[in-house]
């Protein structure tokens, strides 16, 4: 315990000395989020410096091993770091699918060479990754994917289309599921990594109901991929894919925490309608209870005590909660929050965010898929 107390006080002092004041301000818009990558334009010197000092300590990935540039922190230490960052309102120095999704999969399934090659640039925010999973004909039934990789001897030749590739137009590399065999559905999938600048890769943003385009269509037309860029065994990519999905769901479930903001009833302004007040209060009960669940889940996960299907439960609960949050924000805002372009609403932020949340319970596996997983793997219901 004394060691942890010491770690806490050292961490507090280090953060105090190294976290720029500007990086302790709440994120005002999507532009303030640091995603890193080859094409990233830092919004300020403070943003750049914050990423740099955190990456040097490996604290962009606190619990990854030191050998790959991570912080090497124990679960208890990583939790303390998180708490101390939250206490001063420190921004996340780096948002990254490399950290939240690919990294854990590489740590488990990657070769030593792959780990050394791909993980340190993720820690430093040098390479931005995107996810090539869904296809026009393979959504909830992900394993029905058709994009194919043909064995050409010294490389694979990839052809096909991916959809809902988040930020593919801004990403440097992609982790991609492809079919390397048609013999069995799940047993013919491989997990490939390739550079988005490879010849034959093109992307096209998809305009969503929110007016934003966070997702793209990604086309692969005779893309050559070296064979050492397969993660795990050929035709056993489904295991890697599922493991990564668990981490993706964990990440998405964090949306239920509403960005760590205070109680909804405190931030929506005056509530005159008693029916709305009751609804908001019931929501705040659920949100605080979910925050307790989230903390417990992470502790169980780090201690190896979480059921492997628990990320599905967290994803389901967290995303349904986030959708409810935004429904209530819209209700409390009345006709003010219907404005789509005004400066008063910062270009329709409430309405656009509300619409964006509708994807939460679709992306990363729909709520119905998650419920099916809980029914099958946790409740062990027949035929699920």
């Amino acid at each position: 315990m004394a060691e942890l107390d010491q770690f806490r006080s050292e961490t507090r002092a280090w953060l105090d000395a190294n976290c720029p004041a500007e990086m302790r301000q709440p994120v005002k818009s999507e532009d303030d989020v640091c995603w890193g990558g080859r094409n990233f334009q830092f919004q300020s010197d403070a943003q750049k410096r914050w990423l740099q000092v955190m990456a040097e300590r490996g604290w962009t990935t606190p619990d990854w091993p030191r050998e790959v540039g991570g912080g090497g922190l124990s679960p208890a230490e990583a939790k303390i770091l998180k708490e101390e960052m939250r206490a001063i309102g420190a921004r996340n120095p780096l948002n990254s699918f490399g950290i939240s999704m690919l990294g854990p999969a590489l740590l488990k399934y990657g070769t030593d060479e792959q780990k050394q090659r791909f993980l340190p640039p993720i820690v430093r925010g040098e390479i931005r990754w995107c996810q090539g999973y869904s296809e026009p004909g393979a959504g909830s039934d992900l394993a029905g994917l058709q994009a194919k990789a043909e064995d050409m001897g010294d490389h694979y030749l990839v052809n096909g289309q991916k959809v809902w590739t988040s930020y593919a137009d801004q990403a440097d590399w992609i982790f991609c599921l492809v079919r390397t065999s048609t013999e069995t559905k799940h047993g013919g999938i491989s997990f490939l990594l390739f550079d988005m600048e490879s010849e034959g890769v093109s992307t096209k943003p998809i305009l969503l109901i929110s007016g934003y385009s966070p997702f793209c269509e990604t086309f692969m037309d005779d893309v050559k991929v070296p064979k050492d860029q397969v993660v795990g065994e050929v035709n056993k990519g489904w295991d890697v894919a599922k493991y990564l999905l668990g981490h993706e769901r964990e990440m998405i479930s964090g949306m239920g925490l509403g960005g760590g903001s205070s109680l909804l009833g405190k931030i929506v302004g005056e509530i005159e309608d008693p029916a709305l007040r009751a609804e908001v209060a019931a929501f705040d009960v659920d949100a605080l209870a979910f925050a307790a669940m989230s903390e417990r889940f992470i502790d169980q996960l780090k201690a190896g005590e979480a059921h492997p299907a628990m990320p599905s439960m967290m994803k389901y609960a967290g995303t349904e909660l986030n959708k409810r949050r935004h429904e209530l924000v819209m209700a409390a805002g009345g006709s003010d929050t219907l404005e789509w372009e005004s400066e008063r609403t910062r270009k329709g932020k409430p309405a656009r965010e509300w619409l964006r949340t509708k994807a939460n319970s679709i992306e990363g596996g729909t709520s119905e898929i998650q419920l099916g997983i809980i029914a099958k793997h946790i409740l062990r219901l027949p035929g699920a």
């Binding site: 109680l263 209060a281 307790a292 502790d299 409740l379 062990r380």
Partner: protein, 376 residues
């Protein structure tokens, strides 16, 4: 960390096996209900709680108890809830014991409670809803003591209790926390009429009518006009404890229902194969796990004396109340016709849930308190 310590896990395992063996619905709830027991619980089992030290779970070690916290109480109560075990554990050993902590009345009653010989009750509610600040029962100084007049209801085990802690007003007016005083009144006190009422779940709660009940000055628990302090300790422990009991109850009902989905056949297949039921069962699982995390968190914060404990206790009781309501409603519905029969246990879960939800405030009350604390 939100994970249990080894000691806590051991205690949980012990409570689990003790209540699964001795506290079953057949041996306890149904037995005492069907034999028309006036207490609604068995004194033999309460003695067994004492032998395991559980009667003194919240009582300080120097007073003969185990000196444990809300977390340990929650672990035992989860198992109480799962088995619907009737006993004075929640009100006597968890809630009332906390009110008596550090008081002269505590020194008087603790040995009997630890020995499993004394049942203590808490008399707060005066209307059909839990509104502790609204206490209007009057305590007037007279001679060397006080006279109490007023009425109380939903006093769990009131007719079986040896001592009842009665919240009354020595100052201030209804709606205020200041001016309340807690009195330890013996059950056979002159002027106190005790009506033993049977509730829907076959448990017993009394209605009290106090007509100039005379008590000595030393009947005061804590300070005159400062009754909110011991009362709020008892309410916090009772709420966190009943939240845990509701979580256990919800788990018990959900497990029973999941088992039924794996056994009942219709249309030539197990009904658990139908996706419409699978998804509802999975949603219920999720709600119960979240309620459990909230209940553990509230207990953890209470044990640490954290300033967020009050808010989280309201959250836990509200969340557990709602999740358990969903569990019993889905439980009865998914059992179909058999779920409506007295013979099947699932309906007993529904009845117990209704009582536990109201005890120490229902989920709407606690959601309202969350809003009040947050200032909206």
């Amino acid at each position: 960390m939100t994970l249990l310590t080894d000691d806590q896990r051991q205690l949980h395992d012990m409570a689990k096996s003790f209540l699964a063996e001795e506290g079953t619905i057949k041996q306890q709830l149904r037995h005492w209900r069907d034999t028309g027991c006036k207490d609604g619980f068995g004194h033999g089992l309460w003695k067994q709680f004492a032998e395991l030290g559980l009667t003194g779970i919240a009582i300080p070690e120097d007073k003969g108890g185990l000196g444990l916290g809300a977390t340990e109480a929650a672990l035992v109560l989860e198992e109480v809830g799962r088995n619907l075990t009737p006993s004075p554990f929640l009100t006597t050993a968890v809630a009332t014991a906390r009110a008596l902590e550090g008081t002269a009345q505590g020194d008087r009653w603790f040995p009997g409670i630890v020995a499993g010989e004394i049942v203590a009750a808490l008399a707060v509610d005066e209307g059909k809803h839990h509104r502790p600040e609204a206490v209007a029962t009057q305590a007037t100084r007279s001679g060397n003591g006080f006279t109490l007049s007023g009425s109380k209801q939903f006093v769990v085990h009131g007719a079986s209790a040896d001592v009842i802690l009665v919240a009354a007003r020595t100052g201030g007016s209804a709606g205020e926390r200041d001016g309340l005083t807690l009195f330890a009144v013996e059950r056979d006190a002159k002027g106190m009429e005790v009506e033993n009422v049977t509730l829907a779940d076959a448990s017993k709660a009394a209605r009290l009518t106090l007509d100039k009940v005379e008590v000595d000055a030393d009947a005061v628990v804590g300070e005159v006009d400062g009754g909110w302090a011991p009362l709020s300790r008892a309410l916090a422990a009772g709420r966190a404890g009943s939240a845990a009991e509701l979580v256990g109850l919800a788990s018990g009902a959900a497990d029973m229902t999941t088992d039924y989905l794996k056994a009942r056949r219709q249309f030539g297949k197990l009904i658990g194969e139908f996706q419409v039921l699978q998804h509802r069962a999975a949603h219920l699982f999720s709600e119960i796990e979240i309620a459990r995390a909230a209940a553990y968190k509230a207990a953890e914060l209470l044990d640490r004396g954290d300033e967020r404990a009050e808010l989280m206790t309201h959250v836990a009781k509200a969340k557990a109340g709602r999740s358990a309501a969903l569990a019993v409603q889905e439980g009865v519905q998914m059992h179909g016709g058999i779920g409506m029969t007295d013979e099947h246990d699932i309906g007993l879960y529904m009845k117990r849930q209704a009582v536990l939800d109201r005890l120490f405030g229902d989920w709407r009350y606690h959601a309202g308190e969350v809003a009040r604390i947050a200032g909206y």
